[in-house]
């Protein structure tokens, strides 16, 4: 077996299994040829050993020309506190080899440890006395709250709206009254009260009001009655209808 034959079989052995005879022949050649032995070690070596022997800066060079260095993505993960992520996290691979990100990781960790101390500052002169003095004269909060909550509890009951509507309807009824019950009950009383108030205000006597009332009603009856009587009667164009008989003041103007 020569070297080129060995190389062809070597790459074939990675992709698929080779026969027993070829394997024996390869072993024999590998033992006698140092170049092919070195090649076999490189090709069949593990990923870790290959990475260890990688050319320095190669990965960075490739990343620069392809996706770029993922420093910003790593910075976001570090700032979000993803540095405690499990073994699936990929950022440690980058941080291990990136000086800037390693520095950022250290700075973030220390900063987040130290910065909460700044939460409190000493006001030098205590605020307590002035605050207590300003709040001392106010009535206790509990009393305010109990009064407020009593009212809120009353208003927020499920039936409060229904009860409110009922009370409002009753009040409306008392004030305006029922149209078919003007002469009975509280409506009558309201009517009377209203009349008295009106008389007192205008200086009119009850008799005057009644007289005016009667006069208006009588006139109205006089005007309406003839027409009412004519309802259902045949039309008389000669002008001798009952209108003139009942009401001489009005003239029939038929043709």
């Amino acid at each position: 077996m020569n070297c080129s034959e060995f190389e062809a079989l070597l790459y074939s052995s990675i992709e698929e299994s080779i026969g027993h005879v070829d394997a024996v022949r390869m072993t024999a050649h590998e033992a006698s040829c140092s170049r092919c032995r070195a090649l076999a070690t490189l090709v069949s070596g593990t990923e870790a050993s290959a990475a260890a022997e990688a050319v320095e800066g190669l990965a960075e060079s490739v990343l620069t020309q392809t996706s770029g260095r993922p420093c910003e993505e790593v910075a976001v993960l570090l700032a979000e506190g993803e540095s405690d992520a499990g073994p699936a996290a990929l950022w440690p691979v980058h941080v291990k080899t990136c000086k800037e990100c390693r520095a950022l990781q250290g700075a973030l960790a220390r900063m987040l440890r130290e910065i909460p101390v700044l939460a409190e500052l000493d006001p030098e002169v205590s605020l307590v006395d002035s605050v207590l003095q300003a709040t001392a004269r106010r009535r206790p909060i509990a009393r305010r709250r109990s009064r407020d909550s009593l009212w809120l509890r009353f208003v927020q009951r499920p039936r409060a709206a229904l009860e409110g509507a009922y009370v409002a309807a009753m009040l409306l009824l008392l004030i305006t009254g029922l149209p078919w019950a003007l002469s009975v009950g509280p409506v009558r009383t309201l009517d009377t009260w209203w009349r008295e108030r009106a008389e007192a205000a205008n200086g009119l006597s009850a008799s005057m009001l009644n007289a005016v009332d009667g006069s208006v009603q009588g006139t109205w009856r006089q005007l309406r009655t003839p027409e009412l009587k004519n309802i259902g009667q045949p039309w008389n164009p000669a002008g001798t209808g009952s209108v003139e008989q009942d009401n001489p003041d009005r003239k029939w103007s038929g043709t």
């Binding site: 570090l78 250290g106 910065i115 605050v131 909060i141």
Partner: protein, 187 residues
């Protein structure tokens, strides 16, 4: 004593509990007030006003929710109100012109002598941040508020708060490294 118990007693009108609460809160309230206001006396006044406002509004606080966030929101509102007044009648020379809230923190009040020298580096680095990032660092990393609470406080979408908080941390860490490259150096 547990904060919730303390609050319940305060709501019942227990003056002793209120004093304990004031003593417990004053440092943080003053810290936030000092962040927004340059002047030490102004910051004290705002801290006091905020604590009084907390007392007056205690009956509206829902026990069980984050009390600190609530107090800090009140403090921030007081500080912004004060800045608005100062803007109308400026008393501090270098009052900002643009957005009030963002610019309120445009120059971090460096409390010289109020903290140890170890923290001066953090203050110097924070001073170089953008106002929005600085406020995010204050609320999230210094005061330890939840992102949801910050979103509510600043009226921002939750996604914006998350992004801004992450960016602010990165920016601050890089500023610190610019000042001191050995800061947090890993072995």
């Amino acid at each position: 004593m547990d904060l919730d118990d303390l609050l319940r007693r305060c709501i019942k009108g227990d003056a002793l509990a209120w004093e304990v609460l004031v003593r417990r809160l004053q440092g943080r309230v003053y810290g936030v007030a000092r962040f927004y206001l340059h002047d030490r006396e102004e910051a004290r006044d705002i801290a006091q006003e905020a604590l009084i406002r907390v007392y007056r509004s205690l009956d509206t606080f829902k026990v069980g929710t984050n009390f600190t966030a609530w107090v800090l929101r009140i403090t921030r509102n007081c500080a912004i109100d004060r800045l608005r007044q100062l803007r109308v009648a400026p008393r501090i020379e270098e009052l900002p012109d643009d957005d009030l809230v963002a610019d309120a923190a445009c120059t971090l009040a460096q409390p010289a002598g109020e903290v140890s020298d170890n923290h001066q580096l953090l203050y110097r680095a924070m001073d170089q941040l953008s106002p929005a990032h600085r406020e995010m660092i204050l609320l999230k990393d210094i005061q330890g508020l939840e992102q949801k609470e910050i979103a509510q406080m600043l009226s921002l979408p939750l996604g914006t708060v998350k992004t801004r908080a992450t960016r602010a941390r990165i920016e601050l860490a890089r500023r610190i490294l610019d000042i001191d490259p050995t800061y947090g150096a890993l072995p």
